[in-house]
Symmetry: C2
Subunit: 479 residues, 2 copies
């Protein structure tokens, strides 16, 4: 079965030629936007616009119908009105096109008339053409040159993360966030109503896809719960699966029905699903993003015991509260560790007890280096979180010696590069400043990117760091 | 009593002359940084550096001791080593200085020796000089020209929010966030160990301070719980008090002891405090910031029933889940409202049911205007949240017609300016992009600032919007 699905989905992810339906002579129509986004992104296969009367659309020769295209076509991209879609699918089948994305909405999510259209399509398509959608954003597959609205400038770089989503909006946010985490995707599929390609076939595809190692999902409903548990469970310990289930509340369930017409399912059923499948449960977009990313950066293990280095005192108190909320610990430093740290850390306004307040953000890099080393050899510590070391505004605000700030960044990178060190995570706080302080954001991104490219996981808040690490630990505890 | 405190604290907040202790001939010492920050900020009273041998410090004439200053001195700012502070305070008392900030750490938070120093200071100071600190960041009072490290470029504009905090770090983050919310402060006090001026006297001061209407606090411990409840309770319905209590967890309690040496207190005691006092309970920095800000923007009332306008489908599902978590509702649109909306909203890929997916982020401003109006006259709605209307990347990514985006902004501002409308809140999503997309952040801040200056509350996520509105509603329900 594995080989079949890999083969069957090939034209969905790597089509050599695409026919576009629903394009028009109005340059701003949704169909034309889709086409233009592909052109800007740089899809390098053949593109065939289909239009009853136009000779040319977006600078390309147009064809009155799909049969008139003098070439094999691997994929159909359809943004035509819902009621015209069954006929288009029928034409595609006749032409022998093996794959289609139906962006158009107006199907079961709007009621009975739409449901009938879906049924008609299913009947025509079955066994002949694989369909993503309808009511979806489609496929982003950087290796195949495929993108989705509004991804004209999405990363062209491919990575090892696969995404399955019933929401197009969340998918676009995930892909935009690539740069901020230096993570990249193998394939991202927004499948909407999922009349054919769905959570089950996509999960199975990713199971066998050699380009995908981590799987993230936003789901509203699952058609065959038993089968879905079985597939997700079979991935446990091999490819982590992180799932955000939308619509677990009563109001959310109702919204699911207007969105993708799915059956949202009960909270208890989903609790059981997470327990039995071993998937990581996340609760919102940021947690999904952070948790997917941490699996890329931090090797498999349990990281419950944390050294938190930075400052100041109130930040340490809050970090301790967050630890407890997420089942993590920041063990109290032993007397001998306190003594060792006191030898180089000034006593006043600092703490040698963990959380270690080392006088951030002005601490000399030598102190940071020493505390990192002590945390590393302390056997009651699994991982290290560094925070408030880069007060990126320091330079413009106080003429802080910038070489010292750069040295702190280098200290962390050197520490990470040594063998036998413990994982280190950096919290780079993301305060919202005024327009006139955009320079702070620019230097923040510079520091962030330097750390990310050295393989260090960077997140914008202590809560997000600890929560992601807790999710990672829970996963590996189950394996 | 009220008048006494207003009078007594005057030199703390509006000193006409300041003596700086702990400055040195090394230009980068902490004491000199404090002094320079005041100079850059533009404190316009007299500054007298005190140093045993120097003639000049930071370009100002230095004095060998405080008695040698040929002028009355309103305030002492002290960053000298802990063991020298009792003598300094004694000298200040002799000179008749009525107020002091002690930045120096190394007191009760480090153990018995430090506790003895505190006791010595208390004995010397009692009834003669009011003290903020030790182990604190001190006072930011823009009207009085006072700032705190690293606030050389903090806003000089004053506002109606007063802050009481045992953490200097969180206080600096709050003040940096002024611009992002267009909120400003009357006085911000980081009081650290609080040996004299403390949560009780500050709360009482703010109660009578005519410049302060909203009071925010980060607290680690309270010395006299009964009295504190009484004062906070007396403010209920007059000046909202929003409190983040750090160290409610077991690990957090330990961190409190190393930070300010306070007694953190039990969870149950604090639950009772919030119940009896009517203060708004918040759980982290962002919630404190958002909640303080919403009291400035949204008039007193209960706003449990929300219309959520924007999109897309997955975003609406998640918003519904968040509503339920925070005790809010997004009522299902009645048949007549659905019908009314269907007359102008294309059926496909949208929702007329609430959350209203109006095809964001490309929806025409006319549709936004119509839905705003319908939500406004719908009697089952208390407030409106607009989201995903400004896909600020749209222009550079897709050549979206920018005038249309500007029109959506103007539509919301016009709606807000009309009389008899319901409060409208805007969620301006804050995605973390790559360095090469800094232009998106620049345009995001432009849109944000235009809305803020029109009096519209803007937050970076749906969760933060709904949580803040829930806190606001809970408060006014208690009054």
């Amino acid at each position: 079965m594995s080989n079949n699905l890999l083969e069957e989905f090939k034209p969905l992810f790597y089509p050599r030629s695409i026919a576009f339906f629903g394009v028009s002579q109005r340059s701003n129509s949704a169909g034309n936007q889709f086409l233009r986004v592909f052109q800007i992104f740089g899809y390098d296969g053949k593109i065939y616009p289909v239009h009853p009367t136009a000779n040319e659309i977006c600078g390309l020769k147009a064809f009155p119908n799909v049969k008139a295209i003098p070439d094999t076509v691997d994929m159909a991209i359809i943004s035509a009105p819902a009621h015209t879609v069954p006929q288009i699918i029928s034409d595609c089948v006749e032409k022998g096109i093996p794959a289609a994305e139906i962006f158009s909405a107006g199907f079961r999510e709007v009621g009975d008339a739409g449901r009938k259209l879906e049924e008609a399509i299913i009947k025509i398509a079955k066994g002949k053409i694989r369909i993503v959608g309808p009511n979806c954003f489609g496929v982003y597959s950087p290796k195949g040159g495929l993108t989705l609205l509004p991804g004209a400038t999405y990363p062209k770089k491919s990575g090892n993360i696969g995404i399955i989503s019933q929401s197009g909006g969340w998918v676009t946010d995930l892909i935009w966030s690539s740069d901020a985490f230096n993570i990249f995707f193998s394939k991202v599929v927004s499948y909407g109503n999922g009349i054919d390609v769905d959570e089950i076939s996509l999960m199975e595809y990713f199971k066998y896809d050699s380009e995908t190692d981590i799987i993230g999902a936003y789901l509203e409903g699952v058609k065959d719960g038993r089968l879905f548990i079985k597939i997700v469970r079979s991935l446990l310990g091999k490819k982590p699966v992180i799932i955000w289930k939308g619509g677990l509340s009563e109001t959310g369930k109702r919204a699911v029905s207007s969105h993708t017409g799915s059956i949202a399912g009960n909270k208890e059923v989903w609790e059981a699903f997470f327990k039995q499948s071993g998937a990581v449960k996340v609760h919102d977009f940021e947690e999904l993003l952070d948790t997917i990313a941490i699996f890329k950066y931090i090797p498999p293990a349990n990281y419950r015991k944390l050294a938190i280095i930075g400052g100041g005192g109130g930040v340490g108190v809050s970090a301790s509260d967050i630890c407890e909320k997420y089942g993590m610990k920041s063990p109290h430093a032993t007397d001998s560790i306190q003594k060792e740290i006191s030898e180089f850390l000034p006593q006043q306004g600092t703490s040698n007890k963990n959380p270690f307040d080392i006088g951030a953000p002005s601490a000399p890099s030598s102190i940071l280096r020493n505390v990192l080393e002590i945390a590393c050899k302390w056997d009651n510590i699994d991982a290290i979180i560094v925070n408030r070391m880069f007060f990126y505004g320091m330079k413009e605000l106080m003429n802080e010696d910038v070489p010292e700030q750069n040295k702190r960044v280098d200290t962390i990178i050197e520490f990470k590069q040594r063998s036998n060190t413990k994982p280190v995570i950096v919290v780079l706080e993301d305060l919202a400043y005024g327009q006139n302080r955009i320079g702070i954001e620019i230097s923040r991104r510079q520091v962030r990117d330097k750390l990310l490219h050295a393989g260090i996981y960077v997140v914008p808040s202590m809560l997000r760091a600890i929560r992601a690490l807790s999710n990672l630990s829970s996963y590996w505890e189950k394996v």
